[in-house]
């Protein structure tokens, strides 16, 4: 019962569940005979993730919990991100159940890695101790590095894993340097203590440098330009369900961390980091959108698009605390919904060996698979920001927050960018809905292209049997869930919005909360 259990147990209950499930899967993997299906382990992971998400949601009733000598703070804010992460994990697991089936001899480890990675991300979102943040970040990063290279027979996959790994670790060093400077400026690595100590610090310049370093480090993780160089290659090479996961959940966690560090730790320096974030935002939006315009490969295009979306999200950092946090939280949820959905479609369309890669290959998708075509278009439309989708409301909310703090120029750049950005999404949508060109045999063309980009595919092109569609019901369930979430966040965002707003209030420092109230007529008119 809540009253009898200590906070140390209650606060981290979701993480405990996922850890236990991960360990169970690890133990189960060697027990299953070599040729047998790993699906039971997958289902176990899904159940665990659902349980963790549910428990995390339930924690909302327990109020704010501090645990482990204040290194953990479970409040509406952390729960919001944990639920997002949990949901993404559940959906990605559903989508990958059949993906690795028969293709990989160690699918069990994949499920375990997902669980552990989720633990890391959840810890990131609820930690107030930078050391804990760092370790959570590393857990999530390392597990995603591994997952990115899971199809190690393919040259592109290992390459993607390598690039992700090298640049991720590089970023980690910057992040750590930032923490070190924070420690130097304040003598502590606990965000609350840092916030309290900053006004009296003797070395404010160190603090500013620390912010810059931390922003660079996290900027890499969330693939904000100019720290985005890894993103296209990694997204292109990694297995699509993994990309769906790693482009959303770790990003949400990283944003959770960044929001917490900046808004509650470095609240006093907001004028300084706000400028940095504005620059980062503009760069990300522009580079993301213009980069995406030039891509042929769909995953690569979505990689650039994710850079652009990171830019929109970062724009929220220029807003006033309550607005900005709520907007960023909401946007990360909506981005998670649509991006995971898009990558589930790619998973289903391209299969394990990924012979469907470029936009050309998607021509006529709507004729062959009307559901997949419609779903893909829907997600892409959401990314454009068409009303009644998550993407639109997210963007709207972010830019309302931005305008609310008076940064009209930034909002203008952002929305014009989203206007430009619609071109490449639309190009794909129109391809999906046009009829496949009858003269070229689709599969052979795809194969040539795949061979051109991936020599490893020539060696064993047809060894991977495509599972029949009927076998992939879990993936379709996941797809439906993602689509529903995208729609729901666009049409009835009230619940999530309220959660995001309470999350924002939970993490804004008390003095700021008095000055700022959420966007509403009362605040603007009185």
């Amino acid at each position: 019962m809540p009253t009898t259990l200590s906070n140390n147990v209650l606060a981290l209950l979701p993480e405990y569940i996922l850890t236990i499930v991960g360990v169970l899967i690890m133990l189960g993997e060697p027990l299953l005979p070599a040729g047998r299906t790993r699906k039971p382990l997958g289902w176990l992971a899904i159940l665990g993730a659902i349980a963790a998400t549910g428990v995390s949601f339930w924690q909302l009733h327990l109020g704010v919990m501090n645990a482990f000598s204040d290194s953990i703070r479970v409040d509406a804010y952390s729960i919001f991100f944990q639920v997002v992460i949990g949901a993404v994990v559940v959906i990605s697991l559903l989508a990958s159940l059949d993906y690795f089936e028969g293709n990989s001899s160690h699918a069990g480890e994949y499920y375990a890695l997902v669980c552990f990675g989720a633990v890391g991300m959840m810890l990131m979102s609820c930690s107030t101790e930078l050391l804990m943040v760092f370790i959570g970040l590393e857990i999530s990063s390392i597990s995603t590095y591994i997952m990115a290279g899971f199809r190690k027979g393919q040259g592109t996959a290992t390459e993607s894993s390598l690039k992700y790994f090298l640049l991720g670790s590089f970023a980690t060093a910057f992040f750590l340097y930032g923490i070190a400077l924070t420690f130097g400026a304040t003598g502590s690595t606990n965000i609350n203590v840092v916030a309290a100590a900053l006004p009296h610090t003797n070395s404010p310049v160190l603090a500013v440098l620390a912010i810059a370093m931390i922003i660079i480090g996290i900027g890499f993780k969330v693939s904000a330009a100019p720290f985005h160089v890894w993103t296209p290659d990694v997204y292109q090479g990694a297995p699509p369900p993994v990309v769906g996961l790693m482009s959303t959940a770790p990003k949400a966690a990283a944003f959770a961390v960044l929001l917490r560090i900046l808004y509650s730790g470095y609240a006093i320096d907001q004028p300084r980091w706000q400028i940095l974030m504005a620059i980062l935002s503009v760069l990300s939006m522009c580079i993301g959108n213009f980069g995406a315009l030039m891509q042929r490969d769909v995953k690569r295009m979505l990689a650039y698009s994710s850079i652009a979306h990171a830019g929109y999200l970062i724009a929220a950092f220029t807003a006033l605390p309550a607005d900005g946090i709520a907007a960023a939280a909401f946007y990360s949820a909506s981005y998670a919904a649509m991006n995971v959905g898009a990558f589930i479609v790619i998973t289903l369309v391209s299969g394990y060996s990924e012979r469907v890669r470029t936009g050309d290959d998607y021509t006529g998708l709507a004729q062959e698979h009307p559901v997949l075509g419609a779903a893909f278009s829907f997600f892409l439309l959401s990314m454009i920001g068409i009303p009644f989708t998550a993407g639109f409301f997210g963007k709207f909310y972010v830019f309302t927050a931005v305008m609310h703090s008076g940064h009209v120029k930034l909002a203008l750049i952002g929305l014009v960018n989203s206007g430009i950005g619609c071109y490449y999404y639309l190009r794909l949508i129109t391809r999906i809905y046009s009829t496949a060109n009858a003269t070229k045999s689709s599969s052979s063309a795809d194969f040539e292209l795949a061979a051109e980009t991936d020599p490893a595919l020539i060696a064993a092109p047809l060894n991977f049997p495509m599972p029949a569609v009927s076998l992939r019901i879990p993936a379709y369930v996941a797809l439906a869930a993602a689509a529903l979430a995208t729609l729901a966040l666009g049409i009835a965002p009230n619940g999530v919005l309220r959660m995001a707003q309470s999350a924002a209030i939970a993490t804004t420092p008390a003095n700021a909360a008095n000055q700022i109230t959420p966007i509403s007529p009362s605040s603007t008119l009185r």
């Binding site: 981290l12 991960g22 000598s69 890695l113 370790i135 590393e138 591994i146 003797n202 070395s203 310049v205």
Partner: protein, 168 residues
């Protein structure tokens, strides 16, 4: 005494770090790095972090870098070539690096008065050991990170096994 130690080992660090940078053969780079790490261990010791000094030797020089040399030997990595890409890196990288360094150094020099001086062994030492304090905090304030690290290591083991194992 401390200044002498610092100067000797700082110079060692920098020289071998530069050697690391300019050596073409990975194994030479690795060895230079080991020297840097060992020198850092001494510097840690002069700053009163003897536990870290030992850990630095055991973990970094004794485990991590052994792993590196091991892999270099296993894969028989040869000398690296200077390619077009690296020229670009020179042109773009070096000014950037100098800028970063200038920024950092400026900040530190600017703040030097607030940072104070270092004493051999430090206040932490008090003639005995700060091991006790380190371990106490490790098992009280920092208990959770300590425990969670086990998950990290588990993940790393899992990953190493998954990635390095040959597919049947």
């Amino acid at each position: 005494m401390q200044l002498a130690l610092f100067i000797i080992f700082a110079v060692l660090c920098v020289v071998f770090a530069l050697n690391f940078l300019f050596q073409r053969h990975p194994i030479n780079s690795a060895l230079s790095l080991i020297v840097v790490m060992m020198s850092l261990a001494v510097i840690y010791w002069t700053l009163g972090a003897e536990f870290l000094a030992a850990a630095q030797v055991i973990v970094y020089s004794g485990a991590v870098m052994v792993l590196f040399t091991f892999v270099i030997m296993l894969l028989n990595a040869g000398e690296e070539e200077r390619t077009r890409g690296s020229k670009i890196a020179y042109i773009v990288g070096i000014p950037g690096v100098i800028a970063v360094f200038a920024l950092l150094a400026y900040t530190f020099v600017h703040e030097h008065s607030t940072l104070g001086m270092a004493h051999l062994g430090g206040h932490l030492n008090n003639g005995v050991s700060n091991l006790e304090e380190v371990s106490r905090i490790l098992f009280t304030d920092m208990l959770l990170p300590f425990e969670v690290t086990s998950i990290l290591i588990l993940v790393a083991i899992l990953g190493a096994v998954v990635l390095a194992r040959k597919e049947h």
